[in-house]
Subunit: 467 residues, 2 copies
């Protein structure tokens, strides 16, 4: 292709790029060298986040909300955060129903007898130890189930399929998560015996993905499980043979009221106790199938590490409050309890890390409109980490949402979610899925955010001594 033709094509296909001139760019923003140094040190050297992620997943393991395991996690958290030098470390307890799983199995009885890998969804009804047996009725979406006459479903085991694919921004989880969130209620109201769904995930391993669902609109609980993705595809192949498919399903579970969870709170005290505070967190609880490395040990680790790095650097003007929320998985109960107790305090920002530990690739914040100069400083300081601004973002996080709804300004740092739903809520959410280099990039990003929003870091006793 000749050069003039190429230039003409570029003008034709990319007018915005072609017409940008340096005279129309916004004014340049210089990055504070002290902040750049904090950022780069985290990127190179952070060990705090790895140690917390490794420690919590190893020494506690799974920590299902409101169980003894979550209580052990809170004890572990208080010990660790205290040892790291945080102030005001304490637990704020709340009560909630506890749901736990027992024996689980799914077996094709006919026409081709074989076992499938299954796990109950949160708050599933129980089949009892004897299980239930029923014919499978297939739907390719929640809407197909909604459109079906009750007579097609009554007394049967509903199976809902979907076509979730990996996406960097994880956006498929909203649409394709519907079989899990709404499917059980709809199936129950239509008289189904039970429901199994294709796991809401993007992998091909024999590991079912659990997750929460509720029976709403007066629906009675029925047994509700997720088949692994290979098993869902196997079931579809069997159904395509055209014979009736009968499944024996055992999902034993129990629910009891009045159990205890709690939020673990720790602070880096600011020089001005009255200044609006920086609220950052993740959730301490996990699903019970794995050690919850990406969901969300790495999240609590990233936030504590970033706050600790500010603490190591000196005293911020604003208090940084780190919250390791309890009971996020069963429906954001920790975030609601926190907002009830603290939602009306004065916040400079609220942020959450709950999407794994792969690199942050973009961010958004309410500050883009309310404080463009600070937002521009964030854009400039985060760019060397490969992070771009997103002008269309929203507050993002089950734990901070209730506080944001009460008025706290928000910032969202979006992790790359391409791999996230390979492991999310499945037995595969284990430490080996954490890439230490990408974990450090997360810490570097949040350290940068906290440093910029801190109101200025002055030397504390430690730093003065060091001189």
């Amino acid at each position: 292709m000749k050069a003039p033709l190429l230039a003409a094509l570029l003008l034709a296909t990319a007018p915005a790029l072609a017409q940008t001139s340096i005279t129309t760019l916004p004014p340049p923003v210089a990055v504070d060298p002290k902040i750049a140094a904090l950022r780069d040190a985290a990127l190179e050297n952070d060990q705090y986040a790895w140690d917390i992620t490794e420690g919590l997943t190893t020494e506690v393991g799974q920590r299902l909300a409101a169980t003894d395991a979550e209580a052990r996690a809170r004890d572990w958290a208080v010990r660790r955060l205290t040892a790291m030098g945080f102030a005001n470390v304490h637990v704020e307890p709340f009560t909630m129903p506890v749901w736990t799983r027992g024996a689980e199995s799914a077996e094709i009885v006919s026409p081709f007898p074989q076992k499938l890998a299954v796990a109950a969804l949160g708050y599933s009804g129980s089949t009892g130890p004897a299980g239930v047996t029923g014919e499978i009725v297939y739907f390719d979406s929640v809407d197909a189930l909604r459109l079906a006459p009750d007579s097609a479903v009554q007394g049967k085991i509903v199976f809902i399929d979907h076509r979730m694919m990996p996406a960097q921004d994880g956006s498929g989880y909203g649409q394709f998560g519907a079989p899990r969130r709404q499917g059980p209620t709809i199936a129950s109201k239509k008289g189904a015996l039970a429901i199994v769904i294709r796991s809401i995930g993007t992998d091909h391993h024999r590991n079912p993905h659990t997750g929460v669902q509720y029976f709403t609109d007066g629906a009675s609980p029925i047994p509700a499980g997720a088949l692994s993705i290979p098993d869902s595809e196997q079931l579809i192949r069997i159904l395509k043979r055209g014979q009736p498919v009968v499944m024996h399903l055992t999902l034993v579970s129990q629910r009891s009221e009045g159990a205890q969870s709690g939020n673990v709170i720790a602070e880096v005290p600011g020089r001005d106790p009255k200044a609006p505070i920086l609220l950052v967190g993740g959730h301490l609880d996990s699903w019970d199938l794995a050690t919850g490395a990406i969901d969300d040990a790495s999240g609590v680790a990233i936030m504590a590490a970033a706050a600790k790095r500010i603490m190591d650097a000196g005293r911020p003007l604003r208090t940084i409050r780190v919250v390791w929320f309890g009971a996020e998985e069963p429906g954001g109960l920790g975030g609601k309890a926190y907002a009830a107790a603290h939602g009306k305090e004065s916040y400079a920002i609220a942020g959450e890390s709950d999407f794994g530990a792969d690199r942050v690739w973009r961010f958004s914040s309410q500050l883009s409109k309310s404080d463009p100069a600070t937002f521009a400083a964030l854009v400039a300081a985060l760019a060397p980490l490969g992070i771009t601004k997103n002008d269309k973002g929203d507050a993002d996080g089950t734990d901070i949402d209730p506080t944001v709804e009460l008025g706290a300004p928000w910032i969202s740092l979006n992790q790359d979610g391409t791999r996230y739903f390979d492991w999310h809520h499945s037995p595969d959410d284990t430490l080996d899925k954490i890439d230490p280099a990408q974990l450090r990039q997360n810490v570097a990003a949040w350290t940068t955010v906290l440093a910029i929003l801190s109101g200025g870091i002055e030397p504390g006793p430690k730093q003065q001594k060091r001189r």
Copy 2:
């Protein structure tokens, strides 16, 4: 770099290449266009192998040796091979002990209570439903266990680690498979309560890899299991904390004698019934944790597809015998039974496909020495599939080894094993792991081999009719 200098370097660093002259090359080998056409048609269009792999894994699923499921697989095989037009389709039964698994779990009791993913190894002793509880004693290899005094092991649960890595030729399985093969016997003889090993695999999923082991040298059976690789790494992290680690292990299993397995045999009759035959096969049984797609539904499928393609092309001079061996996994019992019945017949070649369905990348054969002209024809015809000759190969295959030992000439087509041990013997050995394009390359390769060794294919009634 200037050209003369480059030429000098090439001469210095690559003398063999630099000194090769076209006058010293072996005589060129032309590929028979009919054979090339058969090869290329298989590569482009084969559907037989996919249909068998998909059908067997879907309509039978797991087919553990000597169980009802393996019997259903034999029935399925007879129906399918008959429908495909093979002659002399029949089952040759044999008796053997059957081993089956029941409830299985592994739980760290202290210091950090949590569940680990475990599966019993074949012929494991049973803990009984109550399980056993013991302290873990760590060894980084079988030799470390062998060197340990009995007192270090007595009454404890042995854990053996290893460092198996993926390899294209799968060679790590020999050395790093020792914890599974010899570990249980050694642990038993030293007085261990039980043994768990790091799964012999190369993945990072919560799926244990089972496999066979025997208690030899008078060792009493003890419970013997494999932890998934993430769980093995978790156990190592827990052990590194330095406190005694206590595990509660439940591996329920049962063994009984006198069960039935069998080999399924089918033939493409040759024009000369007295000519030495072509023996090709794979194994019909699988482990019980998955549907055995790569191990070895694809192997039986590849061989039947290749033979069927010869059948479609006309009548070979030599009979092609396809054997779908029973009970390979528990120790090659089908191969031994076959050799006992048929090992002294006259064979032109014996070959086996039992290493998944990724592409064949090299091959070797006894013909390289006994029949260099035929070997050269194979080299030339397989090269367009990306397959190179290997002058250092061996007969490769549990099923054909006993027949090869009795004198049958062998050929080995080596599949790329880089991914094989990610799934081998684990719940993840399912149909989604089969790449249809690579499966077709396997069929093309074996079709080529059978065509070259067939003694010539003449038009049969079908082909004559077609003209």
